[in-house]
């Protein structure tokens, strides 16, 4: 489990991730799957070895690596970086549109 470097293209956050894919971690409980290919690490805040933490994924439009911080990306059945989301804001349902606007402002 050699850690690899994850870096968010939006906020610059770096972290050592342990796994990339739709399953969270090799050691994680088997009945969990992710709905996107994501970067996960062993959850450093939990004592249990099997627990994971999703740190980020690729934007489904531009492919950039983004972290899961609401200032950097959002997930609505797919991952969107905040840039692509705001560029395509009208393609989202209303509650998400509101959220995109809000997050862009706070950035």
């Amino acid at each position: 489990m050699d850690p690899k470097k994850f870096k968010c293209s939006s906020c610059g956050l770096t972290a050592d991730y342990n796994h990339f894919g739709q399953t969270p971690l090799k050691t994680a409980k088997k009945n969990i799957v992710l709905l996107e290919k994501a970067y996960t690490m062993r959850n450093p805040f939990k004592s249990n070895d099997g627990e994971f933490l999703v740190v980020g994924a690729h934007c489904s439009i531009c492919g950039d690596v983004v972290c899961v911080d609401p200032d950097c990306s959002l997930f609505y059945s797919k991952r969107f970086c905040l840039n692509c989301a705001s560029n395509n804001i009208n393609e989202f349902p209303l509650p998400i549109q509101k959220e995109i606007l809000h997050n862009c402002k706070s950035r």
């Binding site: 050592d16 088997k30 969990i32 805040f45 933490l53 999703v54 911080d69 797919k78 989202f92 349902p93």
Partner: protein, 1147 residues
């Protein structure tokens, strides 16, 4: 989610969703958290649904992004639970239910399972599953926020901007200095930077053990534990270091020990010395050593990083000339300073107690000025514990009246649980007022402090070399520490610092505090230097050299103890002592204990004396606890009482039916101290074994039973789990709660024997218990404890003699006017320090009657009215040995033990002087022994000479044997066994002596005219003639008389009355009780003959050793070389010895 009653289906849901292999397990903390979340979520969902119906459904346009335009929160979650096995579960559950139902209908029971609506339908199941998903998503978000916060904090630390500069400086220079103030992040970040930059073995020293542990935890956390054991700590007894460790936080003392093992410290490629500005003794020494190492060619690759606060930087940069200095600004919020000098009428005089009023006024001032809605606690710096208690009382009253304050004391003698309270939170609208010693200046950091009140004073231990006395004295603090105290107010936001002194006072403060090297005894430091091969300790390049006088004092103490010789070269004993990380006195005890194979109890005593006292603060005013402790106390004094306590605790530990924790609590003892004692003892054991002073106990010969092995493995596993739990629990702060007018932690466990209910304390105490069991073999400890030892009185006396052999000359003489009643102070005198009293917490201050002199008045002598014959005649005079002298309000004797006067003085005095007939013996120039019968007096001196000779030889043999493991070593061991046997037997006789004598202490004036002076009474040097063995003798060039041994000068005392004729010129016929030789001899000659002749049992041994070691003091003068044909060996024998030797072959 309507009014459906989920709770009713918990059991079923548990079977479906919360099995062992599932993400959330039934019965865990997460499981409980989930149900809390579940309830909140239901409320939230209800609200959302009602809103949704208002706003109707949004547009139905399709999206080019291929996402559902009909909004639903579930699309926002990127986690899913694999449903296949859940479906199966649900199905089987349904099936099961149906069957039951049918059955029930048959039996026509009332259907208490409710109607169809209450069924756990598949729709309900999927509803429930979606809540689990929301919960998982919620947890992910929460933890990601933590991660982000951590990373942002790291990036925002002032030091982050200097990262590249620091790494570059360290890469390009052998020594670099990083200076930064509180909060700049140097201690946590620099080691991480270095690892990232490719360094692989980074050691970072800390002055305090706690800091080493907490930093390793913090850095491991910041590196997200991704490195596993790559961030570790190591302190005196424990550590988490593994082969994979890359960053090691360790104490300064430990690094010093490592240098002792390996001068070049090959195991590290970077050494960071943190907090060097604090100028501890060991850190100053490390600076010197590492300066030498880094400039030597042995370690060109080694990098040295000094980290300090920004004070006194010039000193360090001058010491390491040419090294780059990187200065990092601290991160403190602005702090407003207010000078509030204490009015004259409230100032504390030299003797009076501190007036608490100015401190209470600070509380009032804060209440007036700042609304209670604005949070922020107060930290008050007071000189010492006593002042804390005074202010605590006064401010407690104010706190109760207003209900706006929680008063919490903080000092090092509090129990760990009590100390931890300062980290808990005050409820809304209430502030904490922490009354602290200078422990909160650097060692303990409390968050949330907004106000600081500084008394400007500190109580510090200083050392008086003349009396070898520690003094707890009050001083003004330095400007540096005044600033440090102020800084504590600005860690989390802008703050206020109230100085209870004037600005002029502030300006008059010294720049920096006195470094430790200027104010502590240097014995151990110098011994360590000597053992490292630094022969010229005076010219060692310290950053600031210690005072010359202190060095000389230390060298003198070391010479007295035999650790260095008269040329200041380290002796074999000294080498051994340097290996033991304790005071010279305690180290000597250990070595002497091993001489007599009496090491077990001696190690225990040395351990109990090396850790803080186990008594809690309430130990002496809790009558119940006192009663419970009484049976364990020993009338011999504190060291033996402590030994008994320790043994008893081990017994509690090894009995699975009793709780040692409870046992301690009921006796007002701090259990932590006993764990420490066990650890220290274990360390002594290892050290003595390493140095061959303790036979390796054949652990390996006794195979571990498989049960025991399994048990041990299970214990280890459980320990790992508990430690993990502890790690995540310890971060939670509790809220303090008001009970009985005092604030306590919610679910506090004080005065409650079932304290194990408290989760966090129980985990911590369980961790300790398990660690203890894994580290120590309880069976073995138990077998070694006194319960199984079956001490006889003689054993105890032997133990005491060994303890005194280390503690001597720490002796106190009782004052003639003592009344030996517990209501008043009993006064004692040491050789140099008059009028010291028993420490109020010691055994004898509660039982002074044990020290009351016994004996009879001798009327015949009284009539003569001679001052020298004052006092009682008896054989049971006692003196007190003590472990330390401590001056606080008075000078106190700490940890005292009563010892037989005559025997102690004769065996251990550095100098013994006699008159002509030996009835007067003066020990170390301050205590006089007056014996009645001259013959008895001479014979006890003769046995003393034999004993001390034998003791010296045994020590030499043993120390030699530790160096020789080969065949030669074996013969040495055999010899020393014989010697040991002789010595034990002789010693027992000696200790049993019932000689009657009087004892008195000289006045200073009397001490000045003790001796006859050089050239008097010294013409008795018999150069031979009689053909009998005698020890060497030479005139004493200072006192007069004759020096019969290093420590014995015969006939050098001024006679008090002219009446008795100096007996030494009279040769009288005398028969040696040992060899039966009869000859006219003077008293001096008799003594010398007896010293050489030895006891009948010792004869063989004495001859062997005398022949072997040419330097031995017992080589008789009248020996000549003699070749024995039978054993084909050359000997140095006297005429008598030759005869005797021949006789052995006949038999």
């Amino acid at each position: 989610m309507d009014s459906f009653n989920w709770e009713r289906h918990r059991t079923t849901l548990n079977k479906i969703f919360f099995r062992d292999k599932d993400f959330i397990k039934e019965g865990t903390k997460e499981y409980d958290d989930f149900w809390l979340f579940f309830k909140k979520f239901q409320v939230y969902e209800a609200r959302r649904k009602s809103k949704e119906s208002h706003s109707a459904s949004s547009s139905n346009l399709s999206s080019s992004l291929d996402i559902p335009m009909q909004y639903h929160p579930r699309y926002r979650i990127n986690i899913s639970i694999v449903t296949k096995d859940i479906d199966e579960k649900v199905h089987s559950h349904r099936h099961h239910k149906e069957k039951k139902k049918r059955k029930r209908k048959h039996q026509s029971y009332d259907d208490d399972f409710g109607c169809e609506d209450d069924e756990l339908s598949s729709e309900r199941i999927s509803q429930f599953r979606s809540v689990i998903l929301h919960y998982l998503d919620f947890c992910q978000k929460q933890d990601f926020v933590k991660l982000k916060k951590l990373k942002t904090e790291q990036a925002n630390l002032p030091i982050a901007h200097y990262k590249d500069e620091i790494v570059k400086a360290i890469k390009e220079n052998k020594v670099a200095i990083v200076a930064g103030d509180t909060g700049c992040g140097k201690s946590t970040q620099v080691p991480q930077y270095l690892i990232e930059a490719g360094f692989t073995h980074v050691a970072c020293t800390q002055p305090r053990r706690i800091a080493a542990i907490s930093l390793s935890k913090r850095v491991a956390y910041e590196t997200l534990n991704q490195y596993g054991s790559e961030v570790a700590y190591q302190i005196r007894f424990e550590g988490t270091k593994t082969k994979a460790t890359r960053i090691l936080f360790l104490t300064e003392g430990l690094l010093l020990r490592q240098i002792q093992q390996d001068h070049t410290l090959k195991q590290y490629n970077v050494i960071i010395l943190d907090e060097v500005h604090e100028r501890h003794l060991q850190s100053d020494f490390l600076l010197g050593l590492l300066k030498i190492l880094s400039s030597s060619s042995h370690r060109d690759d080694l990098r040295l990083v000094l980290m300090s606060a920004t004070i006194n930087l010039e000193l360090f940069s001058e010491y390491f000339q040419g090294s780059p200095v990187i200065q990092v600004p601290g991160r403190l919020y602005p702090i407003q300073v207010q000078y509030l000098p204490i009015p004259v009428e409230e100032q504390t005089g030299k003797t009076s107690r501190l007036d608490p009023r100015p401190y209470v006024r600070i509380l009032q001032r804060i209440d007036k000025k700042y609304p209670s809605s604005e949070r922020g606690d107060l930290l008050v710096f007071l000189p010492g514990m006593q002042e804390i208690t005074t202010v605590e009382g006064a401010s407690q009253a104010y706190a109760e009246e207003t209900g706006r304050w929680i008063i919490l004391p903080l000092h090092s003698t509090l129990s760990i649980e009590e100390q931890d309270k300062v980290f808990d939170m005050a409820p809304e609208g209430v502030r904490k007022c922490i009354l602290s010693t200078n422990i909160a200046e650097t060692s303990v950091t409390v968050d949330g402090v907004r106000f600081v009140a500084d008394s400007g004073r500190v109580k510090e231990m200083s050392y008086d070399a003349q009396y070898k006395m520690k003094k707890l004295q009050e001083f003004w603090i330095s400007r540096a520490s005044s600033e440090q105290r102020k800084g504590r107010a600005g860690r989390t936001g802008p703050g206020v610092c109230y100085r209870l002194y004037s600005e002029d006072d502030y300006d008059a403060l010294a720049d920096y505090s006195t470094p430790e090297i200027q104010r502590v005894p240097l014995d151990s430091l110098i011994l360590q230097m000597k053992s490292m091969g630094i022969s010229d300790v005076r010219s060692f390049s310290f950053i600031e050299p210690p005072p010359e006088g202190a060095m000389n004092d230390a060298l003198r103490v070391l010479t007295e103890h035999g650790a260095i010789d008269s040329d200041e070269n380290i002796t074999a004993l000294g080498e051994m002592l340097a290996q033991l990380p304790v005071d010279v006195a305690i180290g000597k005890m250990l070595i002497m204990g091993s001489l007599f194979d009496f090491i077990e109890p001696v190690m225990s005593v040395a351990s109990v004396l090396s850790v803080q006292s186990p008594y809690t603060r309430s130990a002496y005013n809790n009558p119940e606890a006192c009663t419970r402790r009484r049976p364990i106390e020993s009338d011999h004094g504190d060291p033996i009482t402590l030994l008994n306590l320790f043994d008893e605790w081990i017994q509690m530990k090894s009995d699975s039916r009793s709780s040692s924790r409870k046992w301690c609590k009921r006796r007002c003892l701090e259990e932590q101290r006993f764990y420490e004692m066990a650890n220290v003892k274990r360390q002594f054991q290892d050290l003595l074994k390493d140095n061959a002073l303790l036979a390796a106990i054949d652990d390996k010969d006794i195979p571990e039973t498989s049960y025991k092995r399994r048990q041990r493995h299970a214990d280890k596993k459980r320990l790992r789990e508990l430690k993990n739990e502890e790690r995540f629990q310890s971060r939670k702060r509790k809220v303090l709660k008001r009970t009985d007018g005092k604030y306590e932690i919610d679910n506090s466990d004080d005065d409650n024997d079932n304290a194990d209910d408290h989760p966090s304390t129980s985990i911590t105490s369980n961790v300790k218990d398990l660690e203890f069991k894994i580290r120590h073999d309880l069976d073995k400890l138990y077998k070694a404890s006194s319960v199984r030892r079956n001490f006889t009185l003689r054993d105890i006396i032997m133990l005491k003699i060994i303890l005194v052999s280390g503690l001597y000359p720490q002796l106190a003489f009782p004052d003639d006017c003592n009344n030996y009643s517990p209501d008043s102070d009993q006064i004692f005198h040491t050789k140099n320090k008059l009028f010291v009293v028993l420490h109020p917490n010691g055994y004898f201050s509660h039982h002074p009657q044990e020290l009351e002199p016994t004996g009879r008045e001798d009327n015949s002598l009284k009539k003569e009215g001679q001052s020298g014959h004052r006092g009682l005649l008896g054989h049971r005079h006692q003196l007190l040995t003590y472990v330390s002298l401590l001056e606080t309000t008075k000078p106190y004797l700490v940890n005292t033990m009563r010892v037989p006067a005559l025997q102690t003085l004769l065996l251990f005095a550095q100098s013994l002087d006699t008159n002509a007939d030996c009835r007067r013996i003066v020990a170390d120039g301050w205590i006089e022994i007056n014996l009645v019968d001259p013959n008895a007096a001479q014979s006890i001196i003769a046995s003393m000479l034999q004993l001390r000779n034998a003791w010296d030889q045994l020590l030499k043999l043993r120390l030699e044997a530790t160096k020789n493991e080969s065949h030669e070593g074996f013969t040495l061991v055999r010899k020393s066994k014989k010697l040991q046997h002789f010595l034990s037997k002789k010693l027992a006789e000696f200790l049993d002596s019932r000689l009657e004598y009087r004892l008195r202490r000289f006045t200073t004036l009397e001490r000045q005219k003790l001796y006859v002076g050089p050239g008097v009474n010294d013409d008795d040097v018999v150069e031979g003639g009689f053909g009998i063995s005698m020890t060497k003798a030479a005139p004493d060039a200072v006192k007069g008389g004759m020096k019969l041994a290093d420590y014995l000068t015969y006939n050098c005392l001024q006679e008090l009355e002219e009446s008795s004729l100096s007996g030494d010129y009279l040769r009288q016929f005398w028969t040696c009780p040992v060899c039966q030789i009869k000859m006219p001899m003077t008293v001096g000659e008799r003594l010398r003959h007896q010293a050489a002749c030895g006891g009948s049992n010792a004869e063989e041994t004495n001859q062997e050793t005398a022949a072997d070691s040419k330097t031995s003091t017992s080589i008789p003068q009248l020996q000549r070389s003699y070749h024995c044909d039978v054993c084909d060996e050359d000997f140095m024998f006297s005429a008598v010895e030759i005869l005797k030797h021949k006789r052995t072959h006949k038999a």
